[in-house]
């Protein structure tokens, strides 16, 4: 492969991989605290994209109960500028975080208080996902929505640079997605690694029983975890939506499955693992030759299958010894 093509693929892969990473972090945070995979995470991703779309003054089409609705018509402070979009994305993601907390309250906490089989929590979170996805369908219909042009303000449409006689094109969106993801990951890494809250979170993840004996309110930190998880999922939805458009209520289903591949690849419950896993899968997908692009969707799952067979604990996960 020529150098320019190689570089192009690397840059494309890093951009999409960084979104996989922040999405998968939401899964991994919940898993590290509760030991359970929240299957409603994909639905939260979809919701985040729709929240932002609504705030940015997106108009709904002719299907669903919200037909023709435009909550913030043009001229509202949240439409038409890059800052407006940034603010909408922030509020949209916060709302997604709130939804994740509600999901915890409805689908996970009752299970914990009964110390039920973790599998039941899985089914219950799937039930919640089913409810959310179908409620979206009832409200806004099944069609795809595109974020309006110009949400990224007056930035040039693409960054170009030349390498020999080839031109490498990076979409502005990709740069923004990558930058936002990296900043977010650094902030999150700092919060978890350095702050008091992060220490408490890690203590709860290590051993909830001991943590509660040490005066840490486990319930409170579970809520914080779910809020962070929803925030990350919602933001990932907004970023992907702003790049490709929202592909209907089932937008997050495939993404949710890919997120699972990402966290297992990196190591279940490992935060750096989620980042590495996301970037690896993003890069692997970018390098699928165009004549096989139909098989791109299978790349993440093929990698997942292989890694499970070769190194079940994932790239950065720690081996665990079976307890007797």
């Amino acid at each position: 492969m020529e150098l320019s093509g190689f570089l192009q693929n690397v840059l494309n892969g890093l951009a999409i991989g960084s979104v996989y990473a922040i999405f998968a972090l939401g899964y991994t945070l919940v898993f590290s605290i509760l030991g359970i995979i929240n299957f409603a995470h994909g639905a939260v991703f979809t919701l985040g994209a729709y929240f932002t779309y609504t705030l940015i003054s997106g108009q709904f089409s002719d299907n669903g109960l919200l037909k023709g609705l435009n909550l913030f018509p043009n001229g509202s402070p949240l439409s038409g500028s890059a800052w407006g979009f940034a603010l909408s994305a922030l509020i949209g993601s916060l709302l997604a975080g709130v939804v994740a907390v509600i999901i915890e309250r409805l689908a996970f906490r009752p299970m914990r208080t009964r110390s039920a089989d973790p599998l039941l929590a899985l089914v219950s979170s799937l039930g919640v996902a089913l409810v959310i996805v179908n409620l979206i369908q009832i409200l806004v219909g099944a069609e795809s929505y595109s974020f309006p042009d110009g949400i990224y303000g007056n930035l040039p449409p693409a960054l170009l640079f030349h390498l020999g006689d080839k031109t490498i094109i990076i979409r502005t969106v990709q740069v923004i997605i990558f930058a936002v993801s990296m900043v977010l990951l650094l902030v999150l890494g700092w919060v978890i690694g350095r702050t008091r809250t992060g220490k408490a979170l890690r203590a709860v993840a290590e051993n909830p029983g001991t943590a509660s004996l040490l005066g840490i309110s486990v319930d409170r930190f579970v809520i914080i975890t779910f809020f962070l998880s929803g925030l990350l999922g919602g933001l990932a939805g907004t970023l992907v939506g702003s790049s490709f458009g929202i592909a209907g209520p089932y937008f997050g289903v495939t993404f949710g499955l890919k997120g699972l591949a990402v966290i297992v690849l990196g190591g279940l419950g490992s935060i750096p693992g989620a980042v590495v896993g996301g970037l690896v899968i993003g890069l692997a997908e970018a390098f699928v030759p165009s004549q096989y692009s139909a098989y791109k969707e299978a790349v993440a799952f093929a990698l997942l299958f292989i890694i499970l067979l070769v190194r079940p604990q994932g790239l950065l996960g720690q081996a665990q010894i079976q307890k007797v």
């Binding site: 030991g35 689908a107 089914v123 279940l268």
Partner: protein, 315 residues
């Protein structure tokens, strides 16, 4: 007769879904949570659909007559047994959630393949699949699904009484102890997995003509989840559980038909409420047997990544 005309299709669907629930129950007998059933179901269906419609097999169809249908069941069973071995031997080194995720990956890879291969008809799939034995009404599939169900239930009953069934239960309750007693976990886990694969494959090969069309939508993650819900809502500790769960949950959208758009929302709510209030499943709650002993758990939370049954294996 009028009753069958009206409800026969629904009843046949309920039996078919119950059978698929049972295909997920088979590996669970040995304590293995596998979500691979839709993959095998899809493979079985594709084998039948291709044999019954592809011009390449026209000669076989002419010479075999209706005999082609039993042949599709047999081939589907063989292919799924082989595929089950191929996937099962490496995958069953994994435990709990890791096995579940590996099987999800298996189903997704099959889905993408069937969506893009030529022989599976790509995204459109295969349609106009001829009906077996001169069937004109869908309810007549009861003559296929009912005997298969009875055979399956008899098989599972005999199995659970046999040495093999006791080995399954031993592994389910405590794999390490079973291993220490000389029960080879790998062998029995793969066997249970293959039984489920074969059952799902046969149901698939009967369902392709039943649905008249076969495409990549038949084997998806959604289906994995639906079958898992059958087993957990019905009850995972008796063979009647997946059957009852499958029949009830597949009838639910039909019963709620009057609510049109809202039925899937209600379906989701049923899953949430049932997993909260019927932790043993419907059948488990009805039976008077004492609760199976549960492992002691910490007061509020599971132990995180290392706690049962989400335990990764490295030996």
């Amino acid at each position: 007769m009028e009753f069958l005309q009206q409800y026969g299709f629904l009843i046949a669907t309920m039996l078919q879904q119950g059978l698929l629930g049972l295909s997920l129950y088979a590996p669970l007998m040995a304590g293995q949570l596998s979500l691979a059933s839709p993959g095998f179901y899809a493979v079985g269906g594709y084998i039948a659909a291709i044999l019954l419609t592809n011009p390449a097999f026209a000669g076989w169809r002419d010479s075999l007559g209706y005999g082609i249908y039993p042949l599709t069941w047999l081939l589907a069973a063989l292919a799924c047994a082989l595929l089950g071995l191929l996937v099962g031997v490496p995958a069953l080194r994994l435990r709990g959630i890791y096995l579940a995720l590996a099987t999800i990956a298996f189903v997704e890879i099959l889905r993408v393949l069937s969506l893009n291969l030529e022989i599976t008809g790509g995204a459109v799939g295969i349609f106009a699949i001829p009906q077996p034995f001169g069937f004109v009404d869908r309810w007549q599939y009861l003559w296929l699904f009912l005997p298969l169900l009875i055979l399956t239930l008899l098989f599972f009953r005999q199995l659970s009484k046999s040495r093999t069934g006791r080995a399954f239960r031993a592994i389910r309750e405590d794999e390490l102890a079973a291993d220490a007693m000389g029960v080879s976990p790998t062998r029995y886990k793969v066997l249970a997995f293959v039984i489920g694969a074969v059952l799902a494959g046969i149901v698939g090969s009967m369902s392709a003509p039943f649905l008249n069309t076969w495409n990549a939508k038949q084997g998806t993650f959604d289906a994995s989840i639906a079958y898992l819900a059958f087993v957990l809502i019905g009850g995972s500790r008796s063979m009647w559980g997946p059957l009852v769960g499958g029949a009830l949950l597949s009838a639910l959208p039909e019963v709620l038909r009057g609510l049109a758009d809202w039925r899937l929302v209600i379906n989701g709510l049923v899953l949430v409420v049932a997993s909260l209030y019927l932790p043993q499943g419907i059948v488990g709650s009805l039976s008077r047997k004492p609760k199976p002993p549960t492992r002691p758990k910490p007061p509020t939370l599971n132990e995180g990544p290392s706690g049962p049954p989400y335990t990764s294996e490295t030996t």
